[in-house]
Subunit: 91 residues, 2 copies
Amino acid sequence: MKRWDVLVEVSPRSEIADPAGTTVERALRALGFSGVTGVRIGKAIRLEVAAADEADARTVTEQMCERLLANPVIEDARIELRAAVAPESSW
Amino acid sequence: MKRWDVLVEVSPRSEIADPAGTTVERALRALGFSGVTGVRIGKAIRLEVAAADEADARTVTEQMCERLLANPVIEDARIELRAAVAPESSW
């Protein structure tokens, strides 16, 4: 079993209102960042998982998204995987 | 001015406690995902920014992190940039 570094990005679906994102966008504009648009705020979940290969690691992560990490009615989940170079590594 | 798709990942610094991550890790184990370790939960902030080139887009995004998006005492910010292929694009 190899270790895999995983990033799960859980973001509000595009058709769902994101009041936190709207508020942050307004605040950035008020601070003078006039070129900013489309602010959306989601969760960035980092974890390590033990799996035989990358496909297996992805399958396990998808199951974790379905069971706990994301609510598919209002959220999209995007998964990034990378072989862990050392215990507790990050990238 | 080109448009740039930006992802800012704001995560709790490694020496800072992350009770939400600890709780999610315990819940994943309880659901049978025994190979999971090191769960940390941060924010995934997506936005578009107008800038002349990639270096300029990165500079503006770093300023937004310093001014509003991240608290450097307890959080790390990681920036990913990509040229926007179309208005409101995502990747």
